[in-house]
Symmetry: C2
Subunit: 301 residues, 2 copies
């Protein structure tokens, strides 16, 4: 029993193309239609043979879908919703994979006032972008958060849950605003910090970029992975989850100031206590299967 | 032609025990003597059969060495130097693996005024600690920085270079103060930020620790690896490289404030420009063999 039989994916970057591959692998009888605003991406997706059909317009792509999955940067959600509004079947479920949810719900609702909308966010990804970067197992053992609007029928939410579970994902239902705060902590602020520290390091006058790169195995290289993520996607996340990001950033800055003070005044106990406490968090993440227990994430030695 | 024939390693954590294993693998004819201040570690190292001899005192360990390698936290270097001063052979070379160099040189020089001292720092490690965590290939393709004192004979520096190169490391000679600044950027501040962000996340009232762990694949988990590193070692690094760490931290805070402002005022161009620039740094690190090109560092999917 498949939850959907005609799936349309709009936006074929890392996440969209991974969903396409997962549909092909786990639901081979589903009729799969794709669309991307970029003609070069459409051409590449045709060459990769990821779907039954690659439509040239968003409207044509959704015309007989029972699930429409929007996989564009969150700043583009409103424009895509507007583009499909006229052709969207009345009984289709609209979902998305955007990293911020309150803003996406507002953008979709504006252009699709009567549609069944069940926003979602698979907490998975890599630092690579584009249709070639996707793979079917990306969502395996990862969490997908659904933030359904109050008016969404329970049955629609359950169908989406079954869709994600078919790819090996675990599903959590959450309030959109709470999602935005949780993800500010676990994803958005870490990305912002990674971007900042990589920028700071490459701007120093007294240390060359060559030195930064050579000696990056001291810890810096861990930050560069997420600082290589898609710039458009992340710009949109920060602009659309402004409040939660600024709130978490404020907390982080306070904590950093406290540590800065501890270093300045030689307060070793404060440092030692924090450094001991943070080990336990890592242990839990590994125990719960959200990361690799091998040293260095399992990098080759 | 081996650079040394009787090597003593004091301190048998991740680095010391990795050097022991590398000596065994790459220089099997070297006579290897070990010592650790902790009796339980000495017992474990005897059980692991890592050396010809495990001495019960630091003095006994160095008595006929031609290389003495100090692998203790930087805050303990002075005490170890004092403990070996009486038994150190006049022609032995003393080296170390500490993460800060100016403070270590001062501590060693105080207690060993006449010794040949060639301080070093292999820029390699994992988040695991203790004698079981070490492995012989840890230094392969990594850099080892030597910061010889002006009075150290060139021949001593060259012997140390040959020692590290035998393990597959690349060697760079650097001024101690410059080392401390470069490592503040590439290692110390990244660790401090990782510790901070993991601490901040676990202190929030509105987001549970369970949520932080569950959704850590959004980026947060990358930070937790280095935030699981040895607390004593890192406390000592921050207390002993105070000036450089505070200087880099100040830069980072300014850059973070600028981004915070860009988010608050909706300045997408500033964000996009930085996010594009940081991708190039990642690319260089991968190209120069200091990290894995596979998505997610090569984590399993």
């Amino acid at each position: 029993m498949l939850p959907f039989s005609r799936v349309t994916i709009i936006g074929l970057g890392l996440i969209g193309s991974s969903i396409a591959r997962a549909v092909r692998d786990y639901m081979p009888t589903v009729r799969l239609t794709l669309h991307d605003a970029d003609p070069a991406v459409r051409e590449r997706v045709r060459a990769l043979d990821l779907a039954d059909d690659v439509a040239d317009t968003a409207g044509a792509a959704v015309i007989d879908a029972d699930l429409v999955m929007l996989c564009v940067p969150v700043g583009a959600m409103g424009a895509v919703a507007e583009a499909i509004a006229h052709d969207l079947p009345a009984d289709a479920i609209v979902s998305d994979v955007g990293g911020s949810k309150a803003s996406v719900i507002a953008a979709l609702r504006e252009h699709l006032p009567d549609a069944v909308i069940v926003p979602g966010h698979p907490v998975a990804g890599t630092e690579h972008s584009g249709p070639d970067a996707g793979f079917a197992s990306l969502f395996k053992s990862r969490w997908c958060i659904l933030t359904p609007t109050p008016e969404a029928p329970e049955a629609a939410v359950e169908r989406l849950r079954a869709f994600w579970q078919a790819f090996g994902a675990q599903v959590e239902i959450m309030d959109p605003k709470h999602h935005d705060l949780v993800l500010a902590v676990t994803s958005h602020v870490p990305h912002l910090i990674a971007y900042t520290i990589v920028g700071t390091a490459s701007d120093l006058e007294d240390v060359t970029q060559g030195e930064v790169i050579k000696f990056s195995a001291g810890g810096f290289r861990d930050f560069t992975r997420i600082a290589a993520s898609d710039p458009t996607m992340w710009r949109d996340v920060f602009l659309n989850n402004r409040e939660a990001v600024l709130e978490v950033l404020q907390r982080l800055t306070e904590d950093l100031t406290m540590l800065q003070r501890a270093i300045r005044w030689g307060d070793g106990d404060t440092l030692f206590d924090l450094f001991t406490r943070t080990r336990a968090v890592r242990r839990s993440i590994v125990e719960q299967g959200q990361d690799d227990a091998a040293p260095d994430f399992g990098r080759k030695h």
